[in-house]
């Protein structure tokens, strides 16, 4: 993405957010006579966001069309990581800490580790030992329970 394009997106997204904030604030009831009310400050913030993003927009439009920077991002690695984190937080409670963590750690290490460095035994050991150690630490040492999930562990 060129810098101009990025700044255009920033200004439009924030402007939309500012408008949304303002509209939402209009529904807040004024309860106390002497007070400016709970809608006042949100409206100030919303107006400020709309104002600043308008300046951003004007500045972005004036920017010269910059060159696209070639990105050397590994899209696959990033998307898989996002997917794994998403899956992990969703499974965390229903499946339980230990099982969801073992599966997450195993897959996440596989995604991140370069092929030539891959070591199955080490990956398996880390993804099993780490969750068990953390679980023990939290439940028994600091007595702060972690989700047990479907099968009780």
């Amino acid at each position: 993405m060129s810098s101009k394009k990025k700044n255009l997106i920033v200004s439009l997204v924030f402007m939309a957010f500012g408008i949304f904030l303002f509209v939402e604030s209009m529904g807040i009831k004024h309860m106390m006579k002497n007070d400016v009310g709970s809608a006042f400050f949100p409206k100030v913030v919303a107006v400020a966001i709309i104002g600043v993003s308008a300046i951003r927009l004007v500045m972005a439009l004036r920017e010269p069309e910059g060159e696209k920077k070639a990105s050397d991002n590994d899209t696959m690695g990033g998307l898989l990581t996002i997917l794994l984190i998403g899956g992990y937080v969703l499974a965390f409670q229903p499946v339980g800490f230990i099982i969801s963590t073992i599966v997450y750690l195993f897959l996440q290490i596989l995604v991140l580790v370069p092929k030539e460095k891959r070591s199955w035994p080490l990956t398996i050991i880390i993804s099993v030992v780490a969750p068990l150690a953390i679980y023990g630490l939290f439940t028994y040492l600091i007595s702060s329970p972690l989700p047990k999930g479907l099968w009780g562990y």
Binding site: L90, I109, S144, P145
Partner: protein
């Protein structure tokens, strides 16, 4: 109260052990690039919730001090700062390593970190009781003005784009509005979600923006995950510098410590600025400025003294007014409030024993750092080799636990993932995320004090300019905005 504090910290082996563990883990997190002092604090915060208040706080103290001090190891041996506060250490520490003086650079860095920390801890001990007395006279009007002033500092955190920084700060303020409003208790922006009544948790936002975002970014950058850089070897006896040579830098040491202290006290600037600023100040006032950058100890001393001096400085506004100056102290604030210790002018009366406990814990942690970082140097250097592809997934698991344990709510865990994605979007679009955190924390303080002040006067806005302290802070705020805008305009031309 001082006696109580000594009993809770100095005469309590468990507490001393926690400080030791905190310092060691802090150094490890600080030294490994990609892990930071803030991350260490975030991950151990939930663990501190379950402990006795003083023990939990002592652990956080150790982590904070160790985390800032560990950054110099990789700054010198890998030429990559382990934490942002050690950026300027690379300028002379790197060239020193090239010349085969890595050992000396490390030794001096550790020694001077200790000295910088010590000066700032003493400053904290002597300034904060007086400041607390002064702030006793503050009303909502003054707090509103201070919050506004602190918000204007966001501009210095914005990195390349001021305007994106302001947007991020405003967005942070907007996030702080969610939940039950101050003063009248109106419920707003919850969209029918009862989880949102209490608003977002600072810890949750921090974990998302600082830890989860970094891990996702590593995923996008996985082919660079193997450390290709060469690691320098070092040899070191003692601290590598004679007392005479070290003390010949006394002007530089005092100047850097004062810069670090000042930057720490001002909200929102942080360690990386302090090390850069004191480096350029040391260069400016040196008799041989041309040698800076070629590998002289002066540069390492300036940077490492200043970044450790930030520690004591940043705790001054936190303890006396509840204003966190950087991410680390924001987490610290969370640790204090969960144990029922509310920072503010009354803290010395209400929880004096804990405040003195923090002072003692800082002094102990500083000494432990001086000894451990030197004695365990070989080990810390070895740990730099732990591959990130094993480390980061485990860190991610700790993040999820951290989010879960702050309220035992799965909703917070989901929020962490969402904020992580948001942080990624911010990074891609060039919007800095630190202003958002500062905005989030100061947002509720601004609104609450604004409304309370106006209620007292029956809606008369003149209270903010008729009370002298409030007026002064508002004027400084206007001045700081004007100066930033001027700087931006001249930069464009």
């Amino acid at each position: 109260m001082v006696n109580q504090a000594i009993h809770m910290v100095l005469l309590n082996p468990f507490c001393l052990a926690l400080i030791f563990i905190g310092v060691v883990i802090g150094i490890i997190f600080g030294s490994i690039p990609g892990l930071s002092a803030s991350m260490a604090l975030i991950l151990f915060l939930p663990m501190s919730f379950g402990m006795e208040p003083m023990n939990g706080i002592a652990l956080l103290v150790g982590l904070y001090l160790g985390g800032i001090s560990g950054g110099l190891i990789s700054a010198i041996l890998l030429k990559i700062p382990g934490t942002a506060s050690s950026i300027a250490t690379v300028f002379d520490g790197g060239p020193m390593a090239d010349k085969g003086e890595a050992g000396k650079a490390l030794g001096v860095g550790i020694l001077t970190s200790f000295v910088g920390g010590l000066i700032s801890i003493f400053a904290l001990m002597f300034i904060s009781p007086y400041l607390a007395k002064v702030t006793l006279a503050f009303t909502s009007a003054e707090y509103f003005a201070i919050a506004v002033f602190a918000l204007t500092i966001i501009s210095s955190l914005s990195g390349k784009s001021l305007i994106n920084g302001i947007l991020a700060g405003l967005f942070g303020i907007a996030l702080s509005l969610v939940g039950i409003a101050p003063v009248d208790g109106a419920i707003r922006f919850t969209f029918g979600q009862s989880h949102l009544y209490g608003g977002f948790d600072t810890v949750v936002i921090l974990i998302g923006l600082y830890a989860v975002t970094d891990i996702i970014k590593t995923g996008f950058d996985r082919h660079n995950i193997i450390n290709n850089q060469t690691k320098y070897t070092y040899n070191l006896k003692g601290y590598g510098i004679s007392p005479k040579e070290y003390l010949s830098n006394w002007r530089n040491i005092i100047q850097s410590a004062l810069i670090g202290l000042g930057i720490g006290i001002l909200p929102g600037i942080g360690g990386s600025t302090s090390s850069l600023l004191s480096y350029s100040a040391a260069k400016g006032s040196s008799k041989h400025p041309e040698k800076f950058g070629t590998g002289i100890v002066d540069g390492v001393i300036a940077s490492e003294t200043a970044n450790n001096a930030v520690i004591g400085g940043s705790l001054i506004p936190l303890i006396t007014m509840g204003i966190p100056g950087n991410v680390a102290t924001a987490i610290f604030l969370g640790g204090l409030t969960i144990h029922g210790i509310s920072p503010g002018p009354l803290i010395f009366q209400k929880s004096g024993q804990y405040v003195y406990g923090i002072f003692i814990a800082l002094l102990v942690a500083n000494v432990i750092m001086l000894i451990c970082e030197r004695a365990g140097l070989r080990l810390f250097v070895k740990l730099l080799d732990i591959p990130k592809y094993y480390l980061l997934p485990v860190v991610m698991v700790c993040c999820v636990i951290g989010a879960y344990c702050s309220n035992y709510s799965i909703f917070d865990v989901w929020c962490v993932a969402v904020f992580g994605l948001m942080g990624l979007a911010f990074k891609v679009l060039g919007v800095p995320s630190t202003p958002m955190i500062i905005g989030f924390i100061l947002g509720s303080m601004t609104e609450e004090n604004l409304r309370q002040a106006l209620m007292q006067t029956g809606g008369n806005w003149s209270i903010f300019v008729t009370r002298p302290i409030s007026l002064i802070f508002l004027l400084i705020a206007v001045l700081s905005v004007a100066m930033t805008i001027r700087k931006q305009v001249t930069k464009k031309k």
